[in-house]
Symmetry: C2
Subunit: 374 residues, 2 copies
């Protein structure tokens, strides 16, 4: 059952029903423009990660500003984008299982589809799915450049897998997937830079070894909101897979720049709007934003523009907030903007984005690819 839309265009922000997922459209559009401006003088193009927004509407806005396409993390997200008219989609991940591979191959009739592999047996499975669907699938080799998650070792192991892909009449060798996930939230600038220096060296070495075998990398992709300036300036990466930049969250807000100040490249554009539903004691306010309305895996949400009010605990449907010395206590029924700790899984709780500008609702966009199924 689709959730009831919490507002209609023209409504005032304070009349939006809650919990609701808000996009501050001015900040959101500025983030899209800022990323485009940053990448324009580099060799890298944006392939924005849709695991953040899950929305063909936002994908098209990013592509209008210069993104070459979108990344997704699973077949269900690829379907939502392809069915929403997004023409170029890379599953920046492995896809396993015959049912999922058949769904993926079917999409290659309506969009350019790429996918990653880190296992020769899986390449055979991709080949069988592509042959059965009578399409040709672009397959990138995922290399582990430091994250310790998926991916083959850079160098000879990656070259062997690329040769296997290139030898198939049903597949096309698409390049390298070289995302260093665990570097994105290293707080200090120098340490983030050092982690990506290692990733760049591994990617460069692998690209060169592939070239010696006559294999060109159409795509060398990686980089996220925490590290993309390093990959974009490396001369090796040609696609940047940042997703969170468009919304930001409290966790990314804790990354530091060269001067040890919070990185301020992008503005917070995503909020969860909550209502104070109980004021049992002067120092306590309970909001209707709990575990089902905001993700807490990367820390609790922050109260936006309300110093002295702190979110201290989440249960299923409640968020307990405390009013600290000097904080202006919220009244019962008051609406509060919260900054989620982690944007991607927070978006996943909602069927609707509510776009607001200068205090008024301007648009409702569906969160098309939400949910646990892949």
């Amino acid at each position: 059952m689709l959730q009831t839309p919490p507002a209609a265009p023209g409504d005032r922000e304070e009349d939006i029903d809650t919990p609701a997922l808000l996009i501050d459209l001015d900040a959101f559009e500025a983030n899209i423009a800022r990323m485009a401006d940053f990448l324009r003088p580099t060799q890298a193009r944006l392939r924005a990660h849709a695991k953040t927004h899950k929305s063909p509407v936002i994908a098209h806005l990013q592509m209008k500003a210069g993104a070459v396409g979108q990344c997704v993390q699973k077949v269900a997200e690829a379907e939502a984008l392809a069915w929403g008219g997004v023409p170029n989609i890379l599953v920046s991940n492995e896809v396993v299982g015959a049912a999922k591979l058949a769904r993926l191959a079917a999409l290659a009739r309506v969009a350019e589809i790429g996918v990653c592999a880190d296992d020769a047996g899986e390449v055979s499975a991709l080949e069988a799915a592509a042959e059965a669907a009578r399409i040709r699938l672009s397959v990138l080799v995922e290399i582990d450049v430091g994250a310790g998650r998926c991916g083959v070792a850079p160098g000879p192991e990656a070259v062997a897998l690329a040769r296997r892909i290139a030898a198939s009449p049903h597949l096309r060798f698409g390049g390298l997937q070289a995302y260093h996930g665990s570097a994105q939230h290293i707080r200090r600038y120098g340490e983030r830079a050092a982690a990506i220096e290692g990733a760049v060296a591994q990617a460069r070495r692998t690209v060169e070894q592939l070239k010696q075998q006559g294999l060109e990398c159409e795509i060398v992709g990686g980089g996220g909101t925490g590290t993309f300036p390093f990959e974009a300036g490396s001369g090796v990466f040609n696609e940047i897979q940042a997703g969170s930049y468009v919304f930001m969250d409290a966790d990314y807000g804790r990354n530091l720049d060269e001067a040890e100040a919070p990185v301020s490249t992008f503005a917070q554009s995503l909020f969860v709007l909550g209502t104070v539903m109980s004021r049992p004691r002067p120092e306590v306010a309970v909001v209707d934003v709990g575990l089902k309305a905001v993700a807490v895996d990367s820390g609790l949400p922050l109260a936006w523009g309300r110093p002295g009010i702190r979110y201290v605990g989440a249960s299923d449907e409640h968020g307990k907030m405390v009013v600290e010395d000097g904080g202006a206590a919220p009244r019962l029924g008051e609406k509060l903007r919260l900054v989620p700790g982690h944007c991607d899984p927070t978006v996943d709780r909602y069927d609707w984005y509510v776009g607001v500008r200068k205090g008024r609702v301007e648009c409702l966009w569906p969160v098309t690819a939400r949910g646990g199924f892949s």
Copy 2:
């Protein structure tokens, strides 16, 4: 967009697409029967909490086994149940805001609806909504019996609010809501018992003071999966609001009984089924169950029936597992059952329950009331 059903009745468990939310029907039915058997000789009846299952199908099964109705935590859940034919629903929580109150009052035309209050101004708002809808709403006074979240103080403050409710021609005083949430996961039996002893004393005192004012409590409700035997045996509580008992989770599995062994009253019946999607190194297996497929607020999921395999880290769409000494390594493509850390918000990630019995899919049930909106 509704998620694609991951299976069809008759499929083998190993052919279910993933991530999927599984109910082991034998264990699930045994849990329902066991709770009914336990409460039969007590003065308390079950009003099962639907914030766990979010499903009219499961609500009806619980009521067939003797539950007097259902609890919910928000209006969207009440709507899903009422529209699914559940006749008796208590919102065990405060509801704030004119739009939500109008939705709640409208439901009172198709089901018995109760709601809680902890503020006189909110009682006036409930009264206005009931009058406008020309219905009579049952309102319980929520008292804080130790959880430190919502609720007025037990005793005179509660009595004053009850008198305010009883004085309204549009409301009916429904009794006391006295749930001690933070006691549910106190690990040691004696400490859980002591916490509820305090809650029972507060509820008893308040019931007696209300009686002195001529106010009878039709409902004295509380108790969860961690503490319900204490409330049920108290002689004060007449409704038990357990929800998780029907599924269980890793967090409840850590509660201890009198002999310091894990409480074994209920069996684990809820699982997330995942697929091993990468085996980059012998000691690492990556599954397709990450932050969007399982809740991690109360700890990481556990591998079911697979000693020596441990889930060590979640990102958006990946779960990293390590194979420890003596563990049987899973193969690429293998399906694994995981026990969620916290059942309620895990269910919230899915559109479909897949009911399995003896290795075969028996039914698909929609998770009707999922999502962040309330």
